[in-house]
Amino acid sequence: MSGAETGGDLGLWTVLLAVIGGAIRVSTPFLFVSLGETITERSGRINLGLEGTLVFGAMSAYATAVVTGSPWAGVLVAGLAGGVFGLLHGTICRFPGVNDVAVGIALMLFGSGLAFFLGKPFIQPSAPPLPAIPFGFWSDLPQVQAALRVNVLFLAGAALAPFLWWAFRNTKAGLVVRVAGDSADAARAMGYDVDRVRLYATGLGGVLAGVGGAYLSLYYPGSWNEGISSGQGLMAVALVIFARWNPLACFGAALLFGGAGALGPALQSVGVTQGYYLFYAAPYVLTLILLVATSSPDRALAGAPGELAK
């Protein structure tokens, strides 16, 4: 076997490993935001503000971890802050004539702006990172070990997806959310306060998006700066549509997007110097391709909550 072939072989494996590792590492914020948005959209409302919530969650988690020295306190604060943003969105949307998409865009800009403003002093200091579990301990290869270092938040998200899938079918709260999202009239006829259901669903969605932000600043990439999210919160909203509002499909879609996001850095790391920037765009291109491919001019989206179509 010649040296060049071995190198190429290792290069391919390295890219594959890096993509798998990246899928696990990069997917977590996608997963949390999309699960949160699934809850919100299943209740019949769209919250585009989750991008802002994600960025604010990242800032507040990082700042809290710097000040208290505990990354878990950071996660808690990020979740609370996200919940406040969600409740704010839900509260504003209760007023008659308010459009949830417009409010979402306003909150997206507000969340990011507030995070940049309050986060200025925290760009320099370093915060303690969230712990990861080395599932690759059995291997001697550093690439394998790196790929299989799995953060606890990823595991939490991976458990949350099947739980939500179960809860939408088997709990009263899950069914009420679906009723509110599919037919507000039916929900009112049953005596449920549709606005309140949506308020809580948006709040919960905000909590999850905030936690997703904590992962960004406290684990990967693991620092606080203004370009930390680069639109991941918005892509996660598109991902919900691609996943057909199904939490299990959200998990798969998040892994796919994570893997696509890891492609650029992986190619760069094995020494591809030309055109790897093109692969940095992979998640965005993937979003477009998937949305076009899974849509049809002749069919309504299967699984779309009825109230969203109005």
């Binding site: 079918r169 088997n170 709990t171 009263k172 709260a173 069914l175 009420v176 679906r178 009723v179 599919d182 037919s183 009239d185 039916a186 929900a187 006829a189 049953m190 005596g191 001019p297 002749d298 069919r299 309504a300 299967a302 699984g303 909550p305 009825g306």
Partner: protein, 521 residues
């Protein structure tokens, strides 16, 4: 213990029929009295029919009973005791249930999920194994067989209606209000459903109040009836003691009913205007498919397509109107392929009047004048044959609107009022005014008289017949079989997405048509 003649709630039986009585029910919306001093009593175990024209106050009355509306005056007695019902949940708690004309089931939930979540005491975590066992026992006592594991969206209209009734019984309704329950059922299904409910009332398990305007149904299943006209109770009594003519006279009051004008001349056998050949299509949900082998409509001919709602009529109309694309086959108008574009409909003089015209044929918040101008607003001088123009000719639009409003007797405050402020009949008149003033070769109409009162109905039907007499080919898709029989030269029946039966209207047999509508052929 207090001395009271009415039984204590604790000792009241928790099952069995209950009676309901209204005393002096009155409901005013502003100056308009929708309901005026209506007192009526439905005995426990009774099957009472409530008759009346559209707008007579039937729905208002039952909505007051169910707590949707707060009555302006009057009280409701449930089981002989005065009941303050302020919302539908309170009505449910007292054993009152209602099946609405529109479905209240949640489309994406399965039947079982719909039943459980409608229950006031739905558990936080649902034990589906236990619920399923409960359903099996409950459905064993039910008159209908239903698959509860399918999402409601996939059920046919008849199955949905049955599920609505089952839901009320599952919620332990002992007094059931049905708002025109058979409008989406085949004649055989209607017979089955009403027969089983009647049997339940005979056993003393249930009382039923049914809003209807089908005399045959009332005579076959109800035990007593009341007639409302313009918000007042004008008569009633035991079924059998009142003849059909008397019922009709009570409903209509004294006024001349204009019969539609007669069809003149015969269809032109050589001029096939509309030809649908082998067209297949699927609706947006992807669930309903249609396959229309061969449908021809000739000049000076009205072809009526009868069928129970949800058997593909809407999809056929959508293909003809260009709302959905055919997956196969071809639609030809005047011998040329037709896809429903604006240019094609202009060239072939095709007019399309969809159902629910306010939603599907109007821009509700734009003015009557603007809505009337949709056909030719982009042509010079509002004339469809002139070349296109960039600038709207407001003055010509206004002139034309005033002329059409006068000619078609559209009742509106002004030509500048939003069309959504008009009544249903006047919206339909305005749409007909827009579609029928210029020469028409092909007219497609869907449920043109749904929800309109008698006067508007006969006038609108006359307009359709005169378009035919003037030489137009008319395709009439309607769920109202009487309308089809009254207007058509030829009757077709659509069932499960296919045209399954054809007969000249002169030889039409309602029984045979009904069997084909029900899919038994």
């Amino acid at each position: 213990m207090t001395a009271s003649t009415s039984p204590d709630p604790q000792t009241r039986p928790v099952s069995g029929a209950i009676g309901v009585e209204t005393i002096g029910m009155t409901k005013r919306f502003g100056a308009f009295a929708a309901l005026e001093d209506v007192s009526m009593k439905i005995e426990a175990g009774g099957f009472h029919a409530l008759l009346g024209e559209n707008g007579a106050g039937k729905s208002t009355l039952v909505k007051c009973v169910m707590g949707f509306y707060a009555p302006t005056a009057g009280t409701v007695l449930v089981d002989g005791r005065e009941a303050e019902i302020t919302n539908p949940k309170g009505a449910q708690a007292r054993g009152l249930g209602m099946v609405y004309q529109h479905f209240t089931l949640v489309p994406s939930l399965t039947g079982a999920e719909n039943l459980v979540i409608a229950r006031a005491d739905a558990p936080a975590v649902i034990d589906w194994a236990a619920e399923r066992a409960d359903f099996a026992a409950f459905m064993g006592r039910m008159p209908f067989r239903l698959n509860l594991d399918r999402p409601v969206a996939e059920l046919a209209a008849g199955e949905k209606q049955k599920l609505e009734i089952v839901k009320q019984l599952y919620l332990k309704a002992r007094f059931l209000i049905l708002d025109e329950p058979t409008s989406v059922l085949t004649p055989a299904e209607a017979e089955e459903v009403l027969g089983l409910l009647r049997a339940m009332t005979d056993r003393g398990e249930l009382s039923v109040l049914m809003i209807s305007h089908k005399f045959r149904e009332v005579e076959a299943f109800a035990r007593s009836l009341s007639v409302l006209r313009r918000g007042r109770l004008v008569g009633g009594g035991d079924v059998g003691a009142i003849s059909r003519d008397e019922m009709a006279a009570l409903m209509m009051g004294e006024r001349a009913v204009r019969q539609p004008i007669a069809r003149l001349g015969a269809a032109d056998p050589d001029r096939v205007i509309l030809q649908v050949a082998g067209v297949t299509a699927t609706d947006v949900s992807g669930l309903r498919h249609i396959a229309v082998e061969d449908l021809r409509v000739r000049a000076r001919e009205i072809v009526g397509i009868a069928g129970v709602s949800g058997n593909g009529q809407k999809e056929l109309a959508d293909v003809l109107g260009g709302q959905i694309r055919a997956t196969g086959g071809q639609v030809r108008v005047g011998g040329e392929p037709y896809a429903g574009t604006r240019a094609e409909s202009r060239a072939h003089r095709v007019r399309f009047i969809p159902e629910e015209p306010l939603r599907n044929a109007c821009a509700p918040r734009m003015s009557v004048a603007e809505n009337l101008a949709f056909r030719a607003f982009d042509r010079r001088g509002e004339d469809p044959d002139k070349p296109p123009t960039l600038w709207l000719d407001r003055r010509a639009m206004g002139r034309r609107a005033k002329d059409l409003i006068a000619r078609f007797k559209v009742k509106t405050a002004s030509s500048e009022a939003a069309i959504a402020t008009l009544s249903g009949g006047n919206v339909q008149r305005a749409v007909l005014a827009r579609e029928l003033t210029d020469p028409v070769d092909l007219l497609v109409v869907v449920n043109p008289c749904f929800g309109l009162d008698f006067a508007a109905v006969s006038e609108i039907r006359s307009r359709i017949v005169s378009a035919r007499n003037a030489g137009a080919a008319v395709l009439l898709i309607s769920e109202d079989l009487d309308e089809i029989l009254e207007l058509s030269d030829r009757v077709l029946v659509m069932s499960e997405g296919r045209l399954v039966y054809e007969t000249p209207a002169a030889q039409a047999d309602v029984g045979v048509i009904g069997r084909h509508m029900a899919g038994h052929h």
